[in-house]
């Protein structure tokens, strides 16, 4: 029985079906998008708005880089996850790139919280483990594509053998 399978089914027809199937992926993507956008807003306005104490204490350049990674990662991963085009591999590539940016952004955020507030373990564990999860999702999308290509090669080989 083939138990180690990665099925490339993109059949949920509506976007809310995809949310039902991938609730946590959608949540992390949305969170990163919001975190990054709010941070970028706070950094640009420079005023009293402080969405994250630890992030605001970072040097502005690093803060911008982390926010940019979070925003871009959030956007790309959500776009890739909800890809409805005919070329599914394009959706996977977009999502993969998104998760990589998310990993960078969340690792930066976790690092900032751990640096400035090392005692509040829960606060820096959350983004660090989510960063790890995003990286794992990046890996699993690679496996998915690789598995699909291998299966297609087998199918085309069989078809050619029968002709």
């Amino acid at each position: 029985m083939p138990t180690h399978v990665y099925q490339p089914t993109r059949n949920p027809p509506r976007w809310w079906d995809r949310v039902m199937v991938h609730p946590f992926d959608n949540a992390v993507g949305l969170l990163c998008l919001l975190f990054g956008a709010l941070m970028a807003y706070a950094l640009t306005t420079g005023g009293g708005y402080n969405p994250s104490s630890s992030m605001m204490r970072l040097p502005p350049l690093i803060g911008f880089v982390v926010s940019a990674c979070l925003t871009v990662g959030g956007v790309l991963s959500l776009v890739g996850l909800h890809w409805t085009g005919d070329t599914v591999s394009r959706g996977w590539h977009l999502e993969r790139g998104g998760w990589l940016f998310v990993t960078a952004g969340l690792a930066g955020m976790g690092g900032a919280i751990a640096w400035f507030f090392p005692a509040s373990t829960n606060s820096w564990l959350l983004p660090s483990i989510l960063a790890l999860a995003a990286f794992v999702r990046w890996l699993s999308l690679i496996f998915l594509e690789r598995n699909t290509r291998r299966t297609l090669a087998v199918v085309q080989g069989e078809a050619r053998g029968q002709e």
Partner: protein
Amino acid sequence: MSEQALVTLGVAVLSLLGGAGFWGWMTSRKEAPIKKRDADVAVAHTSQQMALAIAEDLRLDVGRLRGDVDAERKARESLGTEVQELRQRVEAQAGTIDRLRRAVRAFQDAWEYITTNWQIVRLQDNPPQQPRIDLKEEAAP
């Protein structure tokens, strides 16, 4: 951890992730895109393999069951012949028991005849006739 070390760590992590992204982009550049139809074909093929694996397991299971059923049938048939032999023996023994009962009754009747008619029998010269009992005893094996 000093700030310098943290910056170095951050740069290292970013370069690692950047390298991973670059590697992913390089490997996927040369490959053909996968269309929805291809993905569906891959899903169908994998589902077919799973179904075939299940069918194969079931086939082996059925073979094993058939073997068990054959063994059961053989055991039942041998038991049937045994039961047949036992039944014949039981019937023969019932017949023997019947004859034995008749023999015992004949003996009882004869003895009763002697006791009731003792006054006449004891004066006779010859004893009364022994009742003929045929037990149909089979030849000893």
